[in-house]
Amino acid sequence: MRSLDLAVPGWPGHRAGQHVDVRLTADDGYQTQRSYSIASAPSTDERLTLTVERLDDGEVSPYLAGELRAGDKLELRGPIGGYFVWEPAAGGPLLFVAGGSGICPLMAMLRLRQAAMSTVPARLLYSSRSLEDVIYRDELDRLGSTGSGVEVMLTLTREQPGTWNGLRRRIDSEMLHAVAWPPAEQPLIFVCGPTPLVETAANALVNLGHEPARIKTERFGPTGG
């Protein structure tokens, strides 16, 4: 896992939840491209952050997470997308459900919420294999413990530290029932992660009585590159 802070001259700005296309070109002209969610809050300083999970059989992520170094240039296109986005004016309460690197676009929303000093209540349920796999762990610890109005709940599915007294299984209906705002509060729900997690969580939320139109999903398979 690696976060890339990019200076992008002329960047028009983005909305929290949008992504960019990154295109790489080899010296024989071969090109390939992949999409990455923007993890930083919208800003006017022509900078953005991408967080890249290295996939061993990937073509682009090993380069971005390994080879790339400060000073290298990248070809970007964006911002792209406009449905899986949140802005303070959209209100809440907010429920974020993330798996693995699916946290990235949700992090942009949480960071925007902080930057805009929004008081919209937010809950994050975030599934990782182990504590080491929790992306933005320190930042999420701070967010969840400073009375910022954000509640952070981690679930560790494969490996838990000996002292762990939190959740320790894959996200399921019972967990969502305990964590989610009641449907009567009409939360805005964003779910992002691998397809089985998104499918399970979105179905369970509909069964719990949440309006399908208020559940926005973003999915990626193991072929995200």
């Binding site: 296109r77 406009g82 397809t195 999903t217 973003e218 590159g225």
Partner: protein, 201 residues
Amino acid sequence: MGFVSRAFKGRPRDESRDARLPPGQYLVHDFPVLSAGPTPRTSLAEWTFSIEGEVDEAKHWNWEELRNLPSETLTRDIHCVTKWSKLDTAWEGVSVDTLLEGVETAADYVMAFCDGGYTTNLPLEDLTGGKAWIAYAYDGQPLESQHGGPARLLVPHLYFWKSAKWVRGLRLMNEDSPGFWETYGYHMYGDPWLEQRYSGD
């Protein structure tokens, strides 16, 4: 276009494979799932398919009626705007030509509409002449709900977001009008060979 990315090698070049891959696409062997919201659920007893809008008379089929129409099996390559392509996917469904038989219209465009509220726009001529199907089986099995079952539009010569999942009908239109992703900046037509991913391509 662009510049060389220092020390980027990329996957081994395979000429025989590349000829079937549109520009900017890479091959997958699984079947990724992408959708903007929960997978909708409509029981087959309630399911209908409609052709409506700028037509002399709207047409409707229930599930059984659709399944009793002549079907075709076909094998095609599919290309998703998120850059993956999958070769030789095997489908069964009803040709849109069959559904449009006897439909009188002067319309040039179509909005496909779906359970869950999804829409996508296409020129009518891209749905006729053996280019589009209402598909209900994939790889010899009923189409799974996460892939758009019970039935999805299949228009394999365009980016796959045009092959609307959970399709419930076609609304014929005199003027082109953006559907769901097209409203968010995706291309109005979406030819993968011209790499028409986003508005302005």
